[in-house]
């Protein structure tokens, strides 16, 4: 198991939090919550050692499009970079949907997946 931390610049305040995914085989859990400081911090706990450079590439790419001041905790159980990117996108979508629906901070976790 490896712990990694990454910091990125942010441009706007995040008001809602989101929880998506499970720590199951080939999957990961993402917990996104507002950050006190105007910056983004990503904390990764991963079951696979030695892939810090891949995590950096995936997150660098993600943060070219995302500018929220969020703390993003990731509990990873061997997800591929593609799955990581999808879960991150899902977390953002869930948080933004919550933010749009309720301007005040919500008090419960959000549903997972998008069974539309």
């Amino acid at each position: 198991m490896e712990h990694l931390t990454f910091d990125y610049a942010a441009q706007r305040v995040v008001k809602a939090r989101a929880h998506v995914g499970v720590v199951g085989s080939g999957d990961l859990e993402v917990l996104l919550s507002p950050h006190d400081a105007m910056g983004a911090r990503v904390i990764v706990n991963t079951s696979v050692d030695g892939y810090a450079h891949i995590w950096k590439s995936v997150l660098d790419r993600f943060f070219t499009r995302y500018d929220g001041a969020a703390v993003i905790e990731i509990n990873d159980f061997g997800a591929t970079p593609g799955v990581v990117a999808l879960r991150l996108a899902e977390a953002i979508e869930t948080a933004e949907a919550t933010e749009a629906a309720a301007p005040t901070p919500p008090c419960t976790a959000q549903p997972q997946g998008g069974a539309q």
Partner: protein, 295 residues
């Protein structure tokens, strides 16, 4: 979901319960809009033991506890997430279930009945947490026994993991159990039996045989579970409503020790078959409640 105006094919009309995560299951079982999670992932009640063994934690330790209403009545759901460590019960995961049941018991004793519902999807105790997991499963079991005097304790075994080990005993203590055909309920899993007793005792790769022994249809036919329901979220929610509506059984299965021992004595281990099990055990499912099948 409820309107059948255009009557699409069944597999489209259905919303698979098995494919849902534990959180989605809890949400689907509570009345719409009433789901309120307790001790959720942002509270970070994680296992202190897994990181010491190099295993990544899940923020809710694999158990979702939610308050809400079922049929308008206050309810608490404990749903186990099978994708995290096989739905295994560690110290934190089990404590969340036990505490939810104990709080429901306190409410019941104070004259505020709470409907307790457990969604079993578990291989039993989490081996990495050994005795701590076993101890907390005992707490869950004693909470079920205390609580079922006040309200029916309802369990669901939907699959595909099933319900095994100490948690199968917890399921057996429930007032009513709802299963799907895909669900399995047993003390030892087929692989464990094959490993310990040999392939002559049980071939774990023989799926037909395994489900004939411990599958939902057999468990309902032999009276160890009460309702056989399709893998459909609204069908399962309906079965939950009717399980609670029927109230506390006059005698729980686990109180009918003599009746079950007498039936066991009739079974010849050399010649027993799934069919003969049904003949011998069907009569035990009494207390006026015959098994219901919804399909």
């Amino acid at each position: 979901m409820t309107s059948q105006l255009t009557s699409p094919p069944p597999f489209i009309a259905r919303e698979s319960f098995i494919e849902m995560t534990a959180r989605e299951r809890a949400r689907a079982l509570l009345d719409k809009g009433s789901f309120r999670e307790l001790a959720g992932p942002f509270d970070h009640h994680t296992s202190p033991w897994l990181p010491l063994q190099g295993i990544v934690c899940q923020a809710d330790d694999g158990v979702v506890i939610a308050r809400g209403t079922i049929d308008g009545e206050p309810a608490v759901v404990a749903a186990i997430e099978s994708a995290f460590q096989g739905g295994s019960i560690g110290e934190v995961a089990g404590s969340k279930i036990a505490a939810a049941l104990e709080l429901a018991l306190r409410d019941c004793e104070n004259g505020h009945p709470v409907r307790p519902l457990i969604v079993f999807e578990t291989g039993g105790v989490r081996l990495q947490e050994a005795n701590l997991g076993l101890a907390v499963i005992a707490e869950i079991q004693s909470a079920i026994v205390a609580l079922r005097q006040h309200v029916p304790v309802v369990g669901i075994v939907a699959g595909m993991v099933g319900c095994f080990g100490g948690m199968s005993l917890a399921a057996a203590l429930c007032s009513r159990l709802i299963m799907t055909r895909q669900g399995r309920l047993g003390m030892n899993g087929p692989e464990v039996i094959e490993q310990e007793a040999g392939v002559d005792e049980l071939d774990a790769s023989d799926r037909r045989l395994v489900w004939q022994l411990i599958g939902g249809a057999q468990r309902v036919a032999t009276g160890f579970a009460d309702a056989l329901v399709d893998d459909d979220a609204s069908a399962i929610a309906t079965a939950v409503h009717s399980a609670f509506a029927r109230g506390v059984p006059s005698a729980h299965r686990s109180q009918q020790v003599d009746a079950y021992l007498a039936r066991l004595a009739q079974i010849d281990p050399q010649s027993v078959t799934p069919e003969s099990m049904r003949t011998v055990l069907r009569a035990c499912a009494d207390d006026g409640s015959t098994a219901e099948t919804q399909s």
